[in-house]
């Protein structure tokens, strides 16, 4: 299992379309991908948009990312990149 932190840097936060992008990406991997808010420990399955939206994660929020499975290395890297890229909104 790979674990790390990701931070939301795009101004609109993890809104519906950004969440949809994340879910599409997460869904392309076999690994289990989990996100947990560092401040209130709300947890989400990165493959479910409705779950990701319950994070209500605004700009500046830090999330703990954990990825476990056969393709965890690629998945971990790709998910980190999409956060670092601000979901293409920067």
């Amino acid at each position: 299992m790979l674990e790390g932190k990701v931070k939301i840097i795009n101004p609109l936060g993890l809104h519906a379309r950004a969440a949809a992008q994340l879910v599409r990406l997460a869904g392309s991997f076999q690994s289990k991908i989990k996100l947990v808010r560092s401040d209130n420990f709300v947890m989400a399955d990165a493959k479910s948009i409705l779950s990701v939206l319950t994070l209500a994660a605004a700009k500046g929020i830090e999330l703990a990312l954990s990825v476990e499975g056969a393709d965890e290395k690629q998945a971990f890297q790709s998910i980190q990149e999409i956060f670092a890229d601000g979901f293409g909104e920067l």
Partner: protein, 141 residues
């Protein structure tokens, strides 16, 4: 995998707009369609339109009708189509319910899907100020 079809049935243009919003977020959904019942539409015409929509989205796994309000005309007309394992209704449609029905990744019976959509719809309602309160307190502290 056969998907459970969906028809959103509402007063006015709400149905089409709800579907459009869902599709903006998660992409075009071939197994879901929308029927808007005009305020002055004839009941027989509305009934025909719903029947056409059910046939359009049916893949053989059942069709779930999502209506706006229990007791309203769209629900009452839709109720004429209820049939075990074929057509089921959940009222009080909201965007998370449409998204839930759209994202089917495992085979469920129509009944199971209807229950999940109902639960999702209820769970997705938050009094947001209450939800954000702990953070506000933290900031002040």
């Amino acid at each position: 995998m056969k998907k459970i079809g969906g028809v959103i049935v509402t007063h006015g243009q709400v149905a089409g707009e709800l579907l459009a919003a869902a599709e903006t977020i998660i992409g075009v959904q071939g197994h879901i369609t929308a029927v808007s019942i005009g305020w002055h539409d004839d009941v027989e015409m509305a009934k025909d339109e719903i029947l056409r929509a059910i046939k359009k989205v049916s893949q053989g796994a059942g069709v779930l009708l999502l209506t706006d309000m229990f007791g309203g005309t769209p629900t009452n007309i839709s109720a004429m189509f209820i049939k075990d394992n074929e057509v089921e209704i959940v009222t009080g449609v909201n965007l998370p319910m449409v998204i839930k029905l759209a994202s089917q990744n495992k085979e469920l019976t129509l009944n199971e899907m209807a229950k999940q959509v109902e639960e999702q719809g209820k769970q997705a309602i938050y009094r947001t100020s209450e939800l954000l309160e702990p953070q506000k307190l933290k900031k002040d502290a």
